[in-house]
């Protein structure tokens, strides 16, 4: 049975109980999966509470990202690797899933190349940020994944990754999921977030785009703004990496993963096989 990679976002309104219940059912049905999760909402709340409010910057080429200085990185780790990761592991254990939570740091599960500088536009000025702990994933430690799955465990993974110069780096969770899906030759990558999928009009959930062929994905980037743009980039990278189908699904509905596997949301690549 090919591996299923599921990415669940960390935004507001994500129902981890429903996601975990669905994952537990898939585990019971012997469908192997690996979960990658976010934690941006928790990180924002924690940053504010600790008097180090999040600073989002827009790169010269228009991408928004969290400026991750050392203090932010440690807050990021507390939210992602501490609260969210262990909260999910606790839920899954309670549902009979032998879950193991790992950050990309652990055993160099996710290695990345740290960007030495980030050029941003802020207050009408172009600026260079130097101590941004951000990177791009260059490799996935499939050996560590294989060892744990062969021993019967199931992985719950989150950033940060670790750079070649051994520094923890914040990486985009959706693209991390895509790289993992590619590395484990997953058939499906399901990306769940607090929106139904790719919408022609972001403010109108009725404008959901149900199906996009791989080669047509490029033409749809125009519909995506902010985080959705990164999800499309992730989908493109997964498809390029041999993943057959990427589904952008809604994390707020009941049985969100099986709904996505059944074609609910935006299916990119291989159309849903309704006989399965």
């Amino acid at each position: 049975m090919a591996m299923l990679v599921v990415k669940v976002g960390g935004g507001r309104g994500i129902d981890y109980d429903a996601v975990c219940a669905d994952l537990a059912e898939l585990h019971r049905l012997a469908r192997p999966w690996l979960l990658v999760h976010g934690g941006s909402h928790e990180t924002n709340v924690l940053s504010e509470a600790l008097g180090h409010p999040p600073r989002f910057v827009t790169s010269a080429s228009g991408y928004e990202s969290r400026y991750t200085d050392r203090a932010t990185l440690e807050i990021f780790e507390m939210a992602y690797c501490g609260k969210v990761n262990k909260g999910i592991v606790e839920r899954l254990q309670g549902l009979g899933v032998p879950a193991v939570g790992l950050a990309g740091l652990d055993g160099r599960l996710l290695s990345g190349r740290r960007k030495s500088t980030l050029t941003i536009v802020e207050g009408g000025k172009k600026k260079v940020l130097r101590d941004d702990h951000t990177g791009k994933i260059t490799s996935v430690n499939t050996d560590l994944i294989r060892v744990l799955y062969e021993a019967g465990y199931v992985l719950v993974v989150c950033p940060p990754a670790i750079s070649d110069d051994h520094v923890a780096v914040n990486v985009d969770g959706d693209r991390a999921a895509a790289r993992i899906a590619e590395a484990v030759t997953a058939d499906d990558l399901v990306i769940l977030s607090n929106v139904p999928g790719l919408l022609r009009d972001p403010d109108d959930e009725a404008t959901l785009i149900p199906q996009i062929a791989s080669e047509a994905l490029n033409e749809h980037f125009g519909y995506a703004k902010g985080r959705m743009k990164k999800k499309l980039m992730a989908a493109q990278e997964a498809l390029d990496g041999g993943v057959g189908r990427v589904v952008l699904g809604d994390a707020r509905i009941a049985q969100p993963i099986r709904a996505a596997l059944g074609g609910r949301g935006t299916v990119i690549g291989r159309p849903t096989d309704h006989r399965a």
Binding site: S59, S116, K126, V128, L129, N170, D172
Partner: protein
């Protein structure tokens, strides 16, 4: 006043210039990063890598 590292033109820094800011040489258009304001020192702007991040 700092000089352009390419064409030696004099580069006047705005009053609200900040360390880390990128400015262009008015003559040859080369981009520089203001490494420090006092004393004003320039360096070639870093090559822009495709960005990413959470």
């Amino acid at each position: 006043m700092p000089k352009c590292l390419e064409c030696d033109a004099e580069i006047t820094l705005k009053a609200d210039v900040e360390a880390g800011e990128i400015i262009d040489c008015p003559d040859c258009g080369t981009e520089f990063e203001v490494r420090s304001v006092d004393p004003p020192t320039l360096d070639h702007a870093p090559q822009e890598e495709e960005d990413w991040g959470e």
